[in-house]
């Protein structure tokens, strides 16, 4: 059994490399788990130990899938195809984005060319709400320490955070995808990612910020910077490792500029998230002087009670 497992794992590496070269090849691994059929479909040359009937079965399935018409974009079924994921698949993809490995390409190994919109959409929504909630919480905690700070729920932060994050996850992959397609002619081996795959990579890479934003509640500055740096490193690493096989073929200058731009934009987003908790920690004397000047005297007193 161990020998068979070893053999299976080795074949899968080859299979995924072949997949990386031909992203349009249709795979039939519906459940997202390692199945022997997946090996047979792609590594037909090297894995002759499996029976020929499995090969025939796979080719039948492939033909069937290619025959099935993609429903038009005005039908509900078109959008349903982007939500065709199970719970375990989503959890698996999140784990893959949390622990990026240099050889493991997120798109090929985790997404297996089946991007979904569920993950990016709900991760962005969660991040926006968690940002607003923790921003509110830091204000509450700051007010406990210094009762003169004016507390208010600051509900508009949800809107601002939400709009920013959704724009980031949609516009930056659009720009990246456009750029990669424009450079397609330079590349021979590896095709570009589809737009949805890029959105997926970005969406899942934002997941690591959710626990980080919660941890930023701890009011110790060096710890906050440490968590921020860690989150940025993990997130940017998963982005870079996903993009590396595609830009590797390009000239060094273009590859370097592209990757550094990606990392820079990601760092901008991370620092954009950070000052939201830090605002109320601005020097208290300035905060107290304003309410005393602008508002009638009884108001600060009522804040305390």
């Amino acid at each position: 059994m161990a020998a068979a497992d070893e053999l299976a794992f080795h074949e899968f590496e080859e299979a995924s490399n072949l997949l990386a070269e031909t992203p349009d090849a249709v795979t039939t691994s519906g459940s997202g788990q390692l199945t022997p059929q997946g090996h047979v479909a792609v590594a037909v040359d090297s894995g002759g130990s499996y029976g020929a009937e499995e090969e025939v079965e796979e080719s039948d399935k492939t033909a069937l899938l290619q025959e099935k018409q993609q429903p038009g974009f005005w039908t509900f079924g078109y959008y349903q195809s982007f939500f065709d994921v199970d719970t375990c698949q989503v959890l698996d993809r999140i784990k893959g984005s949390l622990l990026p490995r240099p050889g493991h390409n997120f798109v090929r190994h985790r997404l297996r060319n089946r991007p979904d919109l569920y993950g990016p959409f709900w991760i962005c929504a969660t991040l926006a709400f968690v940002l607003a909630v923790t921003g509110n919480l830091t204000l509450v905690l700051a007010q406990r320490r210094d009762p003169s700070i004016h507390y208010s729920p600051q509900f508009h932060k949800v809107t601002v955070a939400g709009v920013t994050i959704y724009c980031y996850v949609w516009l930056v992959p659009l720009a990246l995808w456009g750029f990669l397609r424009w450079r397609k002619r330079v590349r021979e081996r590896v095709g570009p990612y589809t737009f949805l795959e890029t959105v997926c990579v970005y969406g899942y890479s934002l997941f690591v910020f959710i626990p980080t934003v919660v941890l930023w509640l701890i009011p110790v500055p060096w710890l906050q910077w440490l968590f921020g740096a860690l989150a940025l490193a993990l997130s940017a690493a998963s982005l870079v490792f996903a993009l590396w096989p595609v830009v590797r073929e390009d000239t060094r200058l273009v590859a370097a500029v592209l990757l550094s731009t990606v990392v820079l934009l990601h760092a901008l987003l991370a620092t954009g998230c950070k000052p939201l908790p830090l605002e109320p920690l601005a020097p208290p004397p300035q905060a107290t002087s304003l309410p005393l000047n602008l508002l009638p005297p009884p108001t600060p007193r009522s804040q305390v009670t």
């Binding site: 959008y79 349903q80 939500f83 709900w122 929504a125 509110n136 208010s152 729920p153 509900f155 508009h156």
Partner: protein, 236 residues
């Protein structure tokens, strides 16, 4: 009519019997529950019922709808696996609850608009667009629940949180302090759990089994946001 009678009296032809079997029910005026149902068996029955709802007094109409809403409130407060919310869906209950919640969450406009809590329109938009998004999400994941049934369930399960808002407002009339906050926190947490349990009891069965968690998580997020709005409410 004589032909039909002859056909009805002959027991041999099963097909004809099945065809005309429903005719024997015309004269029986049973209380078929029509409220909220889309398929009504007999045409003459419809005409009879329509004229009676046109002629009835306004009080009867209102009381009938209120009773239906009240019945569903009971189902939410004591959640069991039943089909009532799904079968006889209506959107009156969610509208009443949403308006009540938004009115109670509205602060007086002493504060500047920018820094304040959620205004009426914000609460309204969050509740209804949140419910629509969750419904779309569950339908895209392959759930077999209709659009309005899901809206109905999500709207009715806001009832525990509305009760929590009422309790919080009453508690806030007392003097503020950490005990005050603890009481409010406890009440909101209990009601939040109640909402989640109630909506899961109604919605979970309509999802494919390996995607239940994916469909329930947005519901959790939705009620969490509403609970957060309730908890951070401070009257000024």
């Amino acid at each position: 009519m004589s032909d039909l009678q002859r056909l009805m009296m002959e027991p041999t032809d099963h097909h004809a019997q099945a065809l005309f079997a429903g005719l024997s029910d015309i004269s029986i005026s049973q209380d078929i529950p029509v409220e909220g149902e889309i398929t009504i068996p007999m045409r003459s029955h419809i005409r009879e019922f329509d004229s009676s709802t046109l002629n009835e007094s306004v009080q009867n109409t209102i009381m009938r709808d209120l009773k239906a809403v009240g019945k569903k409130f009971m189902h939410v407060l004591y959640p069991r696996k039943s089909n009532t919310l799904l079968r006889d869906w209506d959107l009156w209950g969610p509208l009443i609850l949403c308006v009540t919640l938004a009115l109670m969450l509205q602060r007086s406009s002493v504060d500047s608009e920018k820094d304040g809590g959620p205004q009426f329109a914000e609460v309204f938009v969050i509740v209804w667009f949140g419910a629509v998004t969750i419904t779309l999400n569950s339908k895209l994941l392959g759930g077999n629940i209709s659009f309005f049934q899901s809206l109905c369930v999500l709207g009715y399960c806001i009832l525990p949180l509305t009760v929590a808002m009422l309790v919080c407002r009453l508690v806030l009339l007392a003097e503020q302090g950490p005990i005050n906050f603890m009481v409010r926190l406890f009440v909101v947490i209990v009601m939040f759990t109640w909402s989640i349990v109630a909506s899961t009891a109604f919605l979970a069965d309509s999802q494919p089994p390996n995607r239940k968690a994916l469909a329930i998580y947005p519901v959790f997020l939705f009620y969490f946001v509403i609970s957060w709005m309730i908890l951070t409410f401070t009257p000024q």
